[in-house]
């Protein structure tokens, strides 16, 4: 029943355990990376998914709310407020009034220095990951905002690095939530921004220690 090829068997069992879901987090992450890099392993995983798929019949349907507007806003950057919503008239009117009131306040508060939108500089991305960070500039404010993918798992953090030419990367800070805003400190076209995965508290060495997740080149300022 077992083939003499031990290596092949190990990969086959790893694929099976990955699909079954029993591996600890680190081994799961390693397996997920291997799926993207090793076609044979990816195929073994796909075969196990099919083999065990009869168990999927046991998952009951549970009606989900319509979260499509939020999902599309995340993916396509549409403002959530502009999404069509199914609200009853009075709620819609009330909501509209509240928005108008809020806008009134906003206009009063910000009229002298109306904030401009962030101009997009680049997107940090990678073929190997769904993670995306959008980098935008407004005046001398630099904002790095996650627009796809998930934050680092517990015990880890995303760290932002600036790489100028062949010089060693310089840490610009940790991105603990959805975004990070910094002073722009003389960015110029050709500079590279990168995000690495580091232990909570950031790289202990001052240089990236974890995998580089996504990168992007500053195109124009």
């Amino acid at each position: 029943m077992t083939t003499p090829d031990t290596l092949q068997d190990d990969a086959e069992l790893l694929a099976a355990e990955y699909v079954l879901g029993t591996l600890p987090l680190e081994a799961r992450e390693a397996a997920a990376t291997r799926i993207r890099r090793d076609m044979h392993f990816a195929l073994a995983v796909a075969r196990w998914e099919e083999r065990l798929s009869p168990l999927n019949n046991d998952f009951d349907d549970v009606p989900a709310p319509n979260l499509l507007p939020q999902i599309e806003a995340r993916l396509f950057g549409l403002p959530a407020a502009a999404q069509p919503t199914k609200r009853t008239f009075w709620k819609s009117w009330f909501g509209g009034a509240a928005v108008a009131a809020a806008l009134g306040v906003a206009v009063l508060a910000f009229l002298p220095t109306a904030p401009l939108p962030f101009a997009p500089l680049t997107t940090l991305a990678s073929d190997a990951s769904d993670l995306r960070y959008e980098v935008g500039l407004r005046g001398n404010e630099l904002r790095i905002a996650r627009i796809a993918g998930t934050a680092a798992e517990a015990g880890r953090v995303h760290e932002l690095w600036l790489i100028i030419g062949n010089a060693p990367p310089v840490s610009l800070g940790l991105i603990k939530g959805q975004e990070l805003t910094l002073a722009s400190m003389g960015l110029a076209p050709g500079m590279v921004l990168a995000i690495s995965l580091e232990p909570t508290g950031g790289s202990p060495t001052g240089a990236p220690t974890g995998p580089v997740l996504v990168t992007g080149v500053v195109e124009k300022i």
Partner: protein, 182 residues
């Protein structure tokens, strides 16, 4: 290939960036995926949050779907299960002292997953293959797959060392492969 697999057909259109197909797949699959996420995560708010992440991944990864290697719904459920289990495992890192509690909570959720299956064709063979396993081991495989139970939790539930549980499951998986691939 996609004639009898409407989800696969939608995934092909999503891979071509067709947003109407994305809305259609949400209508067609969100209930099933919500069922998967809720079963594994056991928390409605977290399941809804996870559902958004899962559909985000569906859009971003649709081009990687290969209809010759599997069915559309199987692919979607794999994304949902993987994401839910990753969340569970991350949660355990945060609160590694809660194992006892987790075991207590999970101890009475075991039931035979395949018992409710309409036994025809492939499903009938799957039922037969699971029945060939020892009942404890069959239940452990199903608990891992359907509830996202880890080796630690399963070992505690069945009162065996973790390595023994790992061996049980590996042998069960190989036996299932043998039986299902016939």
């Amino acid at each position: 290939m996609t004639d009898d697999d409407p989800i696969a057909a939608l995934l092909t259109r999503i891979a071509a960036q067709e947003r109407a197909a994305f809305a259609d797949i949400y209508s067609a699959a969100s209930s099933k995926l919500m069922g998967v996420l809720l079963r594994i995560l056991g928390n409605r708010a977290e399941a809804e949050d996870a559902l958004q992440e899962v559909f985000t991944r569906v859009w971003l990864r649709a081009a990687r779907f290969d209809g010759t290697k599997g069915r559309g719904m199987t692919w979607l459920i794999a994304i949902a299960r993987n994401h839910a289990i990753d969340r569970l495992r991350s949660r355990k890192v945060e609160s590694s002292n809660d194992d006892g509690e987790a075991v207590a909570q999970l101890a009475d959720t075991g039931r035979s997953a395949l018992s409710g299956l309409v036994a025809e064709g492939e499903a009938r063979r799957a039922v037969k293959c699971f029945e060939e396993l020892e009942p404890d081991r069959s239940a452990a495989v199903q608990g891992a797959y359907l509830e996202g139970l880890s080796y630690e939790v399963l070992a505690a539930r069945y009162g065996v060392p973790i390595n023994t549980m790992r061996t049980w499951l590996r042998r069960s998986l190989l036996a299932l492969r043998e039986c299902l691939d016939q």
